[in-house]
Amino acid sequence: MLTLLGVAAVVVGFAVRLNPLLVVVIAAFVTGLAAGMTPVEVLEAFGKAFNENRFVTVAYLVLPVAGVVERAGLQERARSLIGRFRQVSVGPLLILYLAFRQITSALGLTSIAGQTQSIRPMVAPMAEGAVETRTGPLDAATRQDVRAMAAGTDNIGLFFGEDIFIAIGSILLMVGFLASSGITLDPIQLSVWAIPTAIVAFVIHGARLVLFDRRTRRRTAG
Protein backbone atom coordinates (compact mmCIF):
# COMPACT_ATOMS: atom_id res chain seq x y z
CA MET A 1 0.00 0.00 0.00
CA LEU A 2 2.86 2.36 0.86
CA THR A 3 3.98 2.41 -2.77
CA LEU A 4 0.83 4.42 -3.58
CA LEU A 5 2.36 7.33 -1.62
CA GLY A 6 4.28 8.17 -4.80
CA VAL A 7 1.02 8.64 -6.68
CA ALA A 8 -0.23 10.82 -3.83
CA ALA A 9 2.98 12.86 -4.04
CA VAL A 10 2.31 13.53 -7.73
CA VAL A 11 -1.28 14.59 -7.13
CA VAL A 12 -0.42 16.86 -4.18
CA GLY A 13 2.67 18.28 -5.89
CA PHE A 14 0.74 19.25 -9.02
CA ALA A 15 -2.18 20.57 -6.96
CA VAL A 16 0.00 22.98 -4.95
CA ARG A 17 1.84 23.90 -8.18
CA LEU A 18 5.30 22.94 -7.00
CA ASN A 19 7.76 22.81 -9.90
CA PRO A 20 6.71 19.66 -11.79
CA LEU A 21 10.28 18.45 -12.42
CA LEU A 22 10.86 18.49 -8.68
CA VAL A 23 7.50 16.77 -8.08
CA VAL A 24 8.48 13.95 -10.42
CA VAL A 25 11.82 13.37 -8.73
CA ILE A 26 10.24 13.45 -5.26
CA ALA A 27 7.52 11.02 -6.38
CA ALA A 28 10.16 8.66 -7.77
CA PHE A 29 12.03 8.66 -4.46
CA VAL A 30 8.87 8.22 -2.37
CA THR A 31 7.74 5.30 -4.55
CA GLY A 32 11.12 3.62 -4.71
CA LEU A 33 11.89 3.95 -1.00
CA ALA A 34 8.40 2.69 -0.11
CA ALA A 35 9.03 -0.33 -2.31
CA GLY A 36 12.24 -1.09 -0.40
CA MET A 37 14.81 0.32 -2.83
CA THR A 38 17.84 2.26 -1.60
CA PRO A 39 18.17 5.93 -2.65
CA VAL A 40 21.04 5.01 -4.99
CA GLU A 41 18.94 2.28 -6.60
CA VAL A 42 16.12 4.74 -7.17
CA LEU A 43 18.50 7.24 -8.73
CA GLU A 44 19.98 4.54 -10.98
CA ALA A 45 16.58 3.26 -12.11
CA PHE A 46 15.42 6.81 -12.76
CA GLY A 47 18.57 7.78 -14.65
CA LYS A 48 18.48 4.65 -16.79
CA ALA A 49 14.84 5.22 -17.79
CA PHE A 50 15.53 8.93 -18.44
CA ASN A 51 18.35 8.00 -20.80
CA GLU A 52 16.24 5.40 -22.61
CA ASN A 53 13.46 7.93 -23.18
CA ARG A 54 15.58 10.65 -24.80
CA PHE A 55 13.62 10.26 -28.05
CA VAL A 56 10.73 12.07 -26.35
CA THR A 57 12.75 15.31 -26.28
CA VAL A 58 13.99 15.04 -29.90
CA ALA A 59 10.81 16.86 -31.04
CA TYR A 60 12.43 20.21 -30.13
CA LEU A 61 14.65 19.92 -33.20
CA VAL A 62 11.86 21.77 -35.04
CA LEU A 63 12.28 24.89 -32.86
CA PRO A 64 14.96 26.57 -35.05
CA VAL A 65 12.83 26.56 -38.21
CA ALA A 66 9.73 27.54 -36.23
CA GLY A 67 11.72 30.50 -34.85
CA VAL A 68 13.12 31.55 -38.21
CA VAL A 69 9.72 31.74 -39.91
CA GLU A 70 8.34 33.52 -36.88
CA ARG A 71 11.13 36.10 -37.12
CA ALA A 72 10.25 36.67 -40.77
CA GLY A 73 6.58 37.30 -39.99
CA LEU A 74 4.74 33.99 -40.54
CA GLN A 75 2.33 34.49 -37.63
CA GLU A 76 1.37 37.94 -38.94
CA ARG A 77 0.92 36.53 -42.44
CA ALA A 78 -1.22 33.62 -41.21
CA ARG A 79 -3.39 36.07 -39.30
CA SER A 80 -3.92 38.46 -42.22
CA LEU A 81 -4.37 35.65 -44.74
CA ILE A 82 -7.36 34.35 -42.87
CA GLY A 83 -8.70 37.91 -42.67
CA ARG A 84 -8.98 37.96 -46.46
CA PHE A 85 -11.31 34.97 -46.37
CA ARG A 86 -14.03 36.73 -44.46
CA GLN A 87 -16.44 33.82 -44.74
CA VAL A 88 -14.07 31.47 -42.84
CA SER A 89 -14.76 31.78 -39.13
CA VAL A 90 -12.91 30.05 -36.30
CA GLY A 91 -15.29 27.07 -36.02
CA PRO A 92 -15.05 25.77 -39.60
CA LEU A 93 -11.30 26.56 -39.66
CA LEU A 94 -10.58 24.34 -36.67
CA ILE A 95 -13.03 21.66 -37.86
CA LEU A 96 -11.07 21.51 -41.11
CA TYR A 97 -7.82 21.19 -39.17
CA LEU A 98 -9.36 18.47 -36.97
CA ALA A 99 -10.32 16.45 -40.05
CA PHE A 100 -6.87 16.95 -41.58
CA ARG A 101 -5.15 15.84 -38.36
CA GLN A 102 -7.38 12.78 -37.89
CA ILE A 103 -7.04 11.61 -41.50
CA THR A 104 -3.26 12.09 -41.77
CA SER A 105 -2.74 10.42 -38.37
CA ALA A 106 -4.90 7.49 -39.51
CA LEU A 107 -2.45 7.12 -42.42
CA GLY A 108 0.46 6.94 -39.98
CA LEU A 109 1.63 10.52 -40.59
CA THR A 110 1.46 11.61 -36.96
CA SER A 111 4.59 13.78 -37.08
CA ILE A 112 3.67 15.99 -40.03
CA ALA A 113 1.82 18.40 -37.76
CA GLY A 114 1.97 19.28 -34.09
CA GLN A 115 1.98 21.96 -31.42
CA THR A 116 5.44 23.37 -32.23
CA GLN A 117 5.45 23.10 -35.99
CA SER A 118 1.79 23.85 -36.81
CA ILE A 119 -0.23 25.27 -33.90
CA ARG A 120 2.12 28.03 -32.68
CA PRO A 121 3.30 29.31 -36.09
CA MET A 122 0.15 28.84 -38.22
CA VAL A 123 -3.06 27.41 -36.79
CA ALA A 124 -3.34 29.49 -33.60
CA PRO A 125 -2.61 32.81 -35.40
CA MET A 126 -5.14 31.85 -38.09
CA ALA A 127 -7.75 31.03 -35.46
CA GLU A 128 -7.08 34.35 -33.72
CA GLY A 129 -7.21 36.15 -37.06
CA ALA A 130 -10.52 34.51 -37.93
CA VAL A 131 -12.06 35.83 -34.71
CA GLU A 132 -10.42 39.27 -35.02
CA THR A 133 -11.78 39.77 -38.55
CA ARG A 134 -15.29 39.61 -37.16
CA THR A 135 -14.90 41.31 -33.84
CA GLY A 136 -11.80 43.49 -33.78
CA PRO A 137 -8.87 43.08 -31.35
CA LEU A 138 -9.22 40.24 -28.83
CA ASP A 139 -9.18 40.65 -25.06
CA ALA A 140 -6.66 38.53 -23.17
CA ALA A 141 -9.20 35.94 -21.98
CA THR A 142 -10.61 35.34 -25.46
CA ARG A 143 -7.11 35.09 -26.92
CA GLN A 144 -6.20 32.43 -24.36
CA ASP A 145 -9.43 30.51 -25.10
CA VAL A 146 -8.83 30.58 -28.86
CA ARG A 147 -5.23 29.41 -28.50
CA ALA A 148 -6.12 26.68 -26.00
CA MET A 149 -8.89 25.45 -28.30
CA ALA A 150 -6.47 25.30 -31.24
CA ALA A 151 -3.99 23.30 -29.14
CA GLY A 152 -6.72 20.96 -27.88
CA THR A 153 -7.98 20.37 -31.41
CA ASP A 154 -4.51 19.17 -32.44
CA ASN A 155 -4.38 16.68 -29.55
CA ILE A 156 -7.89 15.36 -30.18
CA GLY A 157 -7.24 14.96 -33.90
CA LEU A 158 -4.00 13.09 -33.20
CA PHE A 159 -5.32 10.78 -30.46
CA PHE A 160 -8.48 9.77 -32.29
CA GLY A 161 -6.81 9.27 -35.65
CA GLU A 162 -3.53 7.50 -34.90
CA ASP A 163 -5.08 4.26 -33.61
CA ILE A 164 -6.63 3.62 -37.03
CA PHE A 165 -3.08 3.16 -38.36
CA ILE A 166 -1.94 -0.43 -37.92
CA ALA A 167 1.70 0.17 -37.06
CA ILE A 168 1.29 2.71 -34.28
CA GLY A 169 2.76 1.99 -30.83
CA SER A 170 -0.53 1.52 -29.00
CA ILE A 171 -1.81 -1.06 -31.51
CA LEU A 172 1.45 -3.01 -31.31
CA LEU A 173 1.27 -2.88 -27.51
CA MET A 174 -2.22 -4.39 -27.61
CA VAL A 175 -1.21 -7.12 -30.07
CA GLY A 176 1.77 -8.01 -27.89
CA PHE A 177 -0.26 -8.00 -24.69
CA LEU A 178 -2.98 -10.22 -26.16
CA ALA A 179 -0.41 -12.60 -27.65
CA SER A 180 1.17 -13.08 -24.23
CA SER A 181 -2.30 -13.94 -22.94
CA GLY A 182 -2.86 -16.55 -25.65
CA ILE A 183 -5.08 -14.47 -27.95
CA THR A 184 -3.77 -13.98 -31.49
CA LEU A 185 -5.07 -10.89 -33.27
CA ASP A 186 -4.01 -9.12 -36.42
CA PRO A 187 -3.29 -5.37 -35.97
CA ILE A 188 -5.93 -4.55 -38.57
CA GLN A 189 -8.65 -6.15 -36.42
CA LEU A 190 -7.83 -3.70 -33.64
CA SER A 191 -7.41 -0.67 -35.83
CA VAL A 192 -10.84 -0.97 -37.52
CA TRP A 193 -12.40 -0.77 -34.06
CA ALA A 194 -10.77 2.61 -33.58
CA ILE A 195 -12.95 4.00 -36.35
CA PRO A 196 -16.29 4.29 -34.45
CA THR A 197 -14.66 6.30 -31.64
CA ALA A 198 -12.82 8.45 -34.21
CA ILE A 199 -16.13 9.37 -35.84
CA VAL A 200 -17.79 10.14 -32.51
CA ALA A 201 -14.76 12.25 -31.50
CA PHE A 202 -15.08 14.26 -34.71
CA VAL A 203 -18.80 14.81 -34.12
CA ILE A 204 -18.45 15.81 -30.46
CA HIS A 205 -15.46 18.10 -30.90
CA GLY A 206 -16.86 19.50 -34.15
CA ALA A 207 -20.11 20.40 -32.38
CA ARG A 208 -18.11 22.06 -29.61
CA LEU A 209 -16.18 24.10 -32.17
CA VAL A 210 -19.44 25.32 -33.71
CA LEU A 211 -20.65 26.38 -30.26
CA PHE A 212 -17.27 27.94 -29.50
CA ASP A 213 -17.54 29.96 -32.71
CA ARG A 214 -20.96 31.29 -31.67
CA ARG A 215 -19.76 32.05 -28.16
CA THR A 216 -16.74 34.10 -29.26
CA ARG A 217 -19.02 36.02 -31.61
CA ARG A 218 -21.55 36.74 -28.89
CA ARG A 219 -18.91 37.64 -26.32
CA THR A 220 -17.32 40.26 -28.50
CA ALA A 221 -20.57 41.54 -29.96
CA GLY A 222 -22.15 42.07 -26.51
Binding site: L4, V7, F14, N19, P20, L21, V24, T31, A35, M37, V40, L43, A45, F46, G47, K48, A49, N51, R54, F55, V56, T57, V58, Y60, L61, L63, P64, V65, G67, V68, R71, A72, G73, L74, E76, R77, L81, T110, S111, I112, P121, M122, Q144, R147, A151, G152, N155, I156, F159, F160, M174, S181, I183, L185, W193, A194, P196, V200, I204, H205
Partner: protein
Protein backbone atom coordinates in the same frame (compact mmCIF):
# COMPACT_ATOMS: atom_id res chain seq x y z
CA UNK B 1 22.28 4.15 -42.95
CA UNK B 2 21.22 6.91 -40.58
CA UNK B 3 20.59 5.64 -37.04
CA UNK B 4 18.84 7.19 -34.07
CA UNK B 5 22.27 7.96 -32.57
CA UNK B 6 22.87 10.54 -35.32
CA UNK B 7 19.61 12.26 -34.34
CA UNK B 8 20.82 12.35 -30.73
CA UNK B 9 24.12 13.93 -31.85
CA UNK B 10 22.19 16.62 -33.70
CA UNK B 11 19.93 17.26 -30.70
CA UNK B 12 22.98 17.37 -28.43
CA UNK B 13 24.66 19.93 -30.68
CA UNK B 14 21.53 22.07 -30.74
CA UNK B 15 21.13 22.06 -26.95
CA UNK B 16 24.86 22.77 -26.57
CA UNK B 17 24.40 25.81 -28.81
CA UNK B 18 21.44 26.94 -26.67
CA UNK B 19 23.66 26.57 -23.59
CA UNK B 20 26.55 28.61 -25.04
CA UNK B 21 24.26 31.36 -26.35
CA UNK B 22 22.49 31.46 -22.99
CA UNK B 23 25.79 31.91 -21.18
CA UNK B 24 26.64 34.87 -23.43
CA UNK B 25 23.21 36.51 -23.04
CA UNK B 26 23.82 39.54 -20.80
CA UNK B 27 20.14 40.50 -20.87
CA UNK B 28 19.18 37.40 -18.91
CA UNK B 29 19.98 37.81 -15.20
CA UNK B 30 19.74 34.03 -14.76
CA UNK B 31 21.90 33.22 -17.76
CA UNK B 32 24.10 30.76 -15.88
CA UNK B 33 21.07 28.76 -14.79
CA UNK B 34 19.89 28.54 -18.39
CA UNK B 35 23.37 27.65 -19.63
CA UNK B 36 23.69 24.88 -17.04
CA UNK B 37 20.20 23.50 -17.67
CA UNK B 38 20.48 23.27 -21.47
CA UNK B 39 24.12 22.17 -21.06
CA UNK B 40 22.98 19.17 -19.00
CA UNK B 41 20.40 18.29 -21.66
CA UNK B 42 23.15 18.52 -24.29
CA UNK B 43 25.36 16.25 -22.19
CA UNK B 44 22.55 13.72 -21.92
CA UNK B 45 22.11 13.60 -25.69
CA UNK B 46 25.82 13.55 -26.50
CA UNK B 47 27.10 11.20 -23.80
CA UNK B 48 24.07 9.67 -22.06
CA UNK B 49 25.09 6.13 -22.95
CA UNK B 50 28.52 6.61 -21.39
CA UNK B 51 27.41 8.28 -18.15
CA UNK B 52 26.12 5.09 -16.54
CA UNK B 53 22.79 4.76 -14.73
CA UNK B 54 23.92 6.62 -11.63
CA UNK B 55 25.52 9.37 -13.72
CA UNK B 56 22.26 9.87 -15.58
CA UNK B 57 20.40 9.89 -12.29
CA UNK B 58 22.63 12.67 -10.96
CA UNK B 59 22.14 14.57 -14.21
CA UNK B 60 18.36 14.38 -13.80
CA UNK B 61 18.67 15.50 -10.20
CA UNK B 62 20.62 18.52 -11.44
CA UNK B 63 17.91 19.41 -13.96
CA UNK B 64 15.19 19.13 -11.31
CA UNK B 65 17.13 21.25 -8.82
CA UNK B 66 17.88 24.02 -11.33
CA UNK B 67 14.19 24.16 -12.27
CA UNK B 68 12.89 23.68 -8.74
CA UNK B 69 15.08 26.40 -7.22
CA UNK B 70 13.93 28.87 -9.86
CA UNK B 71 17.37 29.30 -11.41
CA UNK B 72 15.99 29.13 -14.92
CA UNK B 73 15.32 32.51 -16.54
CA UNK B 74 14.06 33.46 -19.94
CA UNK B 75 16.59 34.64 -22.48
CA UNK B 76 15.56 37.46 -24.78
CA UNK B 77 17.72 37.31 -27.90
CA UNK B 78 17.24 40.24 -30.26
CA UNK B 79 14.45 39.47 -32.66
CA UNK B 80 12.28 41.42 -35.09
CA UNK B 81 9.69 43.85 -33.71
CA UNK B 82 5.95 43.41 -34.40
CA UNK B 83 6.11 46.30 -36.91
CA UNK B 84 9.08 44.75 -38.73
CA UNK B 85 7.26 41.44 -38.81
CA UNK B 86 4.18 43.00 -40.34
CA UNK B 87 6.20 44.62 -43.10
CA UNK B 88 8.22 41.41 -43.67
CA UNK B 89 4.93 39.51 -43.83
CA UNK B 90 3.69 41.85 -46.57
CA UNK B 91 6.97 41.60 -48.45
CA UNK B 92 7.31 37.80 -48.41
CA UNK B 93 3.61 37.00 -48.71
CA UNK B 94 2.71 33.35 -49.04
CA UNK B 95 6.42 32.40 -49.45
CA UNK B 96 6.49 32.47 -45.65
CA UNK B 97 4.50 29.25 -45.56
CA UNK B 98 7.03 27.34 -47.69
CA UNK B 99 9.58 26.45 -44.95
CA UNK B 100 6.84 25.63 -42.45
CA UNK B 101 5.06 23.39 -44.94
CA UNK B 102 8.25 21.80 -46.29
CA UNK B 103 8.65 20.25 -42.83
CA UNK B 104 5.55 17.99 -43.02
CA UNK B 105 6.25 17.22 -46.68
CA UNK B 106 9.77 15.94 -45.93
CA UNK B 107 8.58 13.99 -42.87
CA UNK B 108 5.80 12.34 -44.87
CA UNK B 109 8.11 11.58 -47.80
CA UNK B 110 10.77 10.09 -45.52
CA UNK B 111 8.34 7.91 -43.57
CA UNK B 112 6.41 6.70 -46.62
CA UNK B 113 9.51 6.06 -48.76
CA UNK B 114 11.16 4.07 -45.97
CA UNK B 115 8.09 2.01 -45.09
CA UNK B 116 6.70 1.36 -48.56
CA UNK B 117 9.21 2.61 -51.10
CA UNK B 118 12.23 0.55 -50.14
CA UNK B 119 14.33 3.60 -49.21
CA UNK B 120 17.32 2.39 -47.19
CA UNK B 121 18.69 5.77 -46.14
CA UNK B 122 17.52 5.36 -42.55
CA UNK B 123 16.85 2.73 -39.91
CA UNK B 124 13.25 1.69 -40.70
CA UNK B 125 12.39 1.21 -37.01
CA UNK B 126 13.18 4.87 -36.34
CA UNK B 127 11.94 6.28 -39.64
CA UNK B 128 9.63 8.85 -38.04
CA UNK B 129 12.21 10.40 -35.70
CA UNK B 130 14.98 10.38 -38.30
CA UNK B 131 12.65 11.89 -40.92
CA UNK B 132 11.65 14.56 -38.44
CA UNK B 133 15.29 15.44 -37.77
CA UNK B 134 16.12 15.52 -41.48
CA UNK B 135 13.05 17.64 -42.17
CA UNK B 136 14.00 20.07 -39.41
CA UNK B 137 17.44 20.59 -40.97
CA UNK B 138 16.10 20.92 -44.53
CA UNK B 139 13.26 23.26 -43.55
CA UNK B 140 15.70 25.46 -41.62
CA UNK B 141 17.93 25.70 -44.70
CA UNK B 142 14.96 26.52 -46.91
CA UNK B 143 13.88 29.21 -44.45
CA UNK B 144 17.34 30.80 -44.27
CA UNK B 145 17.74 31.00 -48.04
CA UNK B 146 14.18 31.81 -49.07
CA UNK B 147 13.55 34.41 -46.37
CA UNK B 148 17.15 35.71 -46.30
CA UNK B 149 17.45 35.43 -42.53
CA UNK B 150 20.73 35.86 -40.60
CA UNK B 151 22.87 32.72 -40.26
CA UNK B 152 22.61 32.72 -36.48
CA UNK B 153 18.85 33.17 -36.47
CA UNK B 154 17.93 29.45 -36.29
CA UNK B 155 19.97 29.10 -33.09
CA UNK B 156 18.95 32.40 -31.53
CA UNK B 157 15.28 32.10 -32.45
CA UNK B 158 15.32 28.44 -31.44
CA UNK B 159 16.74 29.45 -28.08
CA UNK B 160 14.05 32.12 -27.70
CA UNK B 161 11.32 29.50 -28.21
CA UNK B 162 13.17 26.97 -26.04
CA UNK B 163 13.24 29.45 -23.16
CA UNK B 164 9.52 30.09 -23.71
CA UNK B 165 8.87 26.41 -23.07
CA UNK B 166 11.51 26.32 -20.30
CA UNK B 167 11.70 23.41 -17.83
CA UNK B 168 8.38 22.05 -19.17
CA UNK B 169 10.36 20.78 -22.17
CA UNK B 170 11.95 18.07 -20.05
CA UNK B 171 8.81 17.09 -18.16
CA UNK B 172 7.57 14.46 -20.66
CA UNK B 173 10.89 12.61 -20.53
CA UNK B 174 10.99 12.86 -16.73
CA UNK B 175 7.47 11.47 -16.49
CA UNK B 176 8.41 8.57 -18.74
CA UNK B 177 11.24 7.81 -16.31
CA UNK B 178 8.84 8.07 -13.35
CA UNK B 179 6.62 5.53 -15.13
CA UNK B 180 9.56 3.13 -15.13
CA UNK B 181 10.05 3.56 -11.37
CA UNK B 182 6.30 3.01 -10.86
CA UNK B 183 6.58 -0.19 -12.89
CA UNK B 184 9.50 -1.49 -10.80
CA UNK B 185 7.59 -0.75 -7.60
CA UNK B 186 4.42 -2.45 -8.91
CA UNK B 187 2.18 0.61 -8.51
CA UNK B 188 0.00 -0.41 -11.47
CA UNK B 189 -0.76 -3.92 -10.27
CA UNK B 190 -1.63 -2.60 -6.83
CA UNK B 191 -4.18 -0.12 -8.17
CA UNK B 192 -5.58 -2.79 -10.48
CA UNK B 193 -6.09 -5.11 -7.50
CA UNK B 194 -7.80 -2.36 -5.52
CA UNK B 195 -10.23 -1.64 -8.35
CA UNK B 196 -11.11 -5.27 -8.99
CA UNK B 197 -11.49 -6.26 -5.37
CA UNK B 198 -13.72 -3.38 -4.26
CA UNK B 199 -16.14 -3.01 -7.18
CA UNK B 200 -18.63 -5.83 -7.88
CA UNK B 201 -18.75 -6.61 -11.58
CA UNK B 202 -21.43 -9.23 -12.02
CA UNK B 203 -23.41 -7.13 -14.51
CA UNK B 204 -22.00 -6.75 -18.01
CA UNK B 205 -22.68 -3.00 -18.24
CA UNK B 206 -21.03 -2.35 -14.88
CA UNK B 207 -17.96 -4.28 -15.96
CA UNK B 208 -17.75 -2.36 -19.26
CA UNK B 209 -18.15 0.95 -17.45
CA UNK B 210 -15.54 0.07 -14.80
CA UNK B 211 -13.06 -0.98 -17.49
CA UNK B 212 -13.50 2.17 -19.61
CA UNK B 213 -13.64 4.62 -16.70
CA UNK B 214 -10.78 2.74 -15.05
CA UNK B 215 -8.65 3.09 -18.19
CA UNK B 216 -9.35 6.84 -18.22
CA UNK B 217 -8.87 7.33 -14.49
CA UNK B 218 -5.71 5.27 -14.38
CA UNK B 219 -4.33 7.19 -17.35
CA UNK B 220 -5.00 10.45 -15.50
CA UNK B 221 -2.90 9.17 -12.58
CA UNK B 222 -0.09 7.64 -14.66
CA UNK B 223 -0.13 10.24 -17.45
CA UNK B 224 -0.07 7.54 -20.09
CA UNK B 225 -2.65 5.13 -21.51
CA UNK B 226 0.13 2.67 -22.32
CA UNK B 227 0.83 2.25 -18.62
CA UNK B 228 -2.85 1.85 -17.80
CA UNK B 229 -3.67 -0.68 -20.51
CA UNK B 230 -1.80 -3.78 -19.28
CA UNK B 231 -3.00 -3.24 -15.71
CA UNK B 232 -6.69 -2.66 -16.45
CA UNK B 233 -6.84 -5.30 -19.17
CA UNK B 234 -5.16 -7.93 -17.04
CA UNK B 235 -7.40 -6.98 -14.11
CA UNK B 236 -10.80 -6.52 -15.78
CA UNK B 237 -10.70 -6.70 -19.58
CA UNK B 238 -9.31 -10.19 -19.98
CA UNK B 239 -10.77 -12.16 -17.02
CA UNK B 240 -14.19 -10.52 -16.87
CA UNK B 241 -15.13 -8.92 -20.19
CA UNK B 242 -13.45 -11.41 -22.52
CA UNK B 243 -13.39 -14.72 -20.59
CA UNK B 244 -16.47 -14.41 -18.37
CA UNK B 245 -18.82 -12.45 -20.65
CA UNK B 246 -17.35 -13.67 -23.96
CA UNK B 247 -16.58 -10.21 -25.39
CA UNK B 248 -14.68 -9.69 -28.64
CA UNK B 249 -11.05 -8.98 -27.63
CA UNK B 250 -10.47 -6.65 -30.59
CA UNK B 251 -13.39 -4.37 -29.69
CA UNK B 252 -12.64 -4.42 -25.98
CA UNK B 253 -8.94 -3.64 -26.31
CA UNK B 254 -9.27 -1.04 -29.07
CA UNK B 255 -12.03 0.94 -27.35
CA UNK B 256 -10.42 0.39 -23.96
CA UNK B 257 -7.22 2.04 -25.21
CA UNK B 258 -9.21 4.95 -26.66
CA UNK B 259 -10.94 5.39 -23.29
CA UNK B 260 -7.44 5.77 -21.89
CA UNK B 261 -6.77 8.48 -24.47
CA UNK B 262 -9.78 10.38 -23.08
CA UNK B 263 -7.89 10.35 -19.79
CA UNK B 264 -4.76 11.65 -21.51
CA UNK B 265 -6.72 14.75 -22.55
CA UNK B 266 -7.51 15.50 -18.90
CA UNK B 267 -4.20 15.12 -17.06
CA UNK B 268 -1.27 17.47 -16.46
CA UNK B 269 0.93 14.37 -16.33
CA UNK B 270 0.59 14.05 -20.12
CA UNK B 271 2.84 17.08 -20.19
CA UNK B 272 3.92 17.07 -23.82
CA UNK B 273 0.31 17.26 -24.99
CA UNK B 274 -1.18 19.43 -22.27
CA UNK B 275 1.43 21.58 -20.48
CA UNK B 276 4.08 22.14 -23.16
CA UNK B 277 1.55 23.68 -25.60
CA UNK B 278 0.30 26.01 -22.87
CA UNK B 279 3.88 27.22 -22.37
CA UNK B 280 4.56 27.37 -26.09
CA UNK B 281 1.44 29.48 -26.74
CA UNK B 282 2.29 31.67 -23.73
CA UNK B 283 -1.02 31.03 -21.98
CA UNK B 284 -1.21 32.57 -18.49
CA UNK B 285 -3.14 29.52 -17.20
CA UNK B 286 -0.92 26.42 -17.24
CA UNK B 287 -4.03 24.21 -17.37
CA UNK B 288 -5.89 26.14 -20.11
CA UNK B 289 -5.41 23.41 -22.73
CA UNK B 290 -6.72 20.72 -20.37
CA UNK B 291 -9.74 22.87 -19.58
CA UNK B 292 -10.42 23.25 -23.30
CA UNK B 293 -10.27 19.46 -23.76
CA UNK B 294 -12.33 18.15 -20.82
CA UNK B 295 -15.75 18.95 -22.37
CA UNK B 296 -14.79 16.79 -25.36
CA UNK B 297 -13.10 14.05 -23.34
CA UNK B 298 -15.97 13.32 -20.92
CA UNK B 299 -18.81 12.79 -23.45
CA UNK B 300 -16.39 10.81 -25.62
CA UNK B 301 -15.60 8.56 -22.67
CA UNK B 302 -19.32 7.86 -22.16
CA UNK B 303 -19.64 7.22 -25.90
CA UNK B 304 -16.84 4.64 -25.60
CA UNK B 305 -18.74 2.79 -22.86
CA UNK B 306 -21.82 2.70 -25.12
CA UNK B 307 -19.82 1.61 -28.18
CA UNK B 308 -18.06 -1.17 -26.31
CA UNK B 309 -21.32 -2.41 -24.78
CA UNK B 310 -23.04 -2.35 -28.17
CA UNK B 311 -20.33 -3.94 -30.34
CA UNK B 312 -18.30 -6.29 -28.12
CA UNK B 313 -20.98 -8.82 -27.25
Amino acid sequence: MIQLSAVYLLAGALFAAFAVLSALDRNNTKRLGNALFWGLVALSFLAGDRLGDLGNGVLVLGLALIAGLGLLGRGAPATTSPEERRSLADRFGETLFVPALSLPVVVAAGVLATKYGGLTLMDPKQATLISLALAAVIATGVGLVLLRQPLMSPLQEGRRLMDTVGWAALLPQMLAALGAVFAIAGVGELIGQLVTSYIPMDARLTAVAVYCLGMAGFTVIMGNAFAAFPVMTAGIGLPILIRQFGGDPAVICAIGMLSGFCGTLMTPLAANFNLVPAALLELPDRYAVIKAQIPTALPLLIANVVLMYAFAF
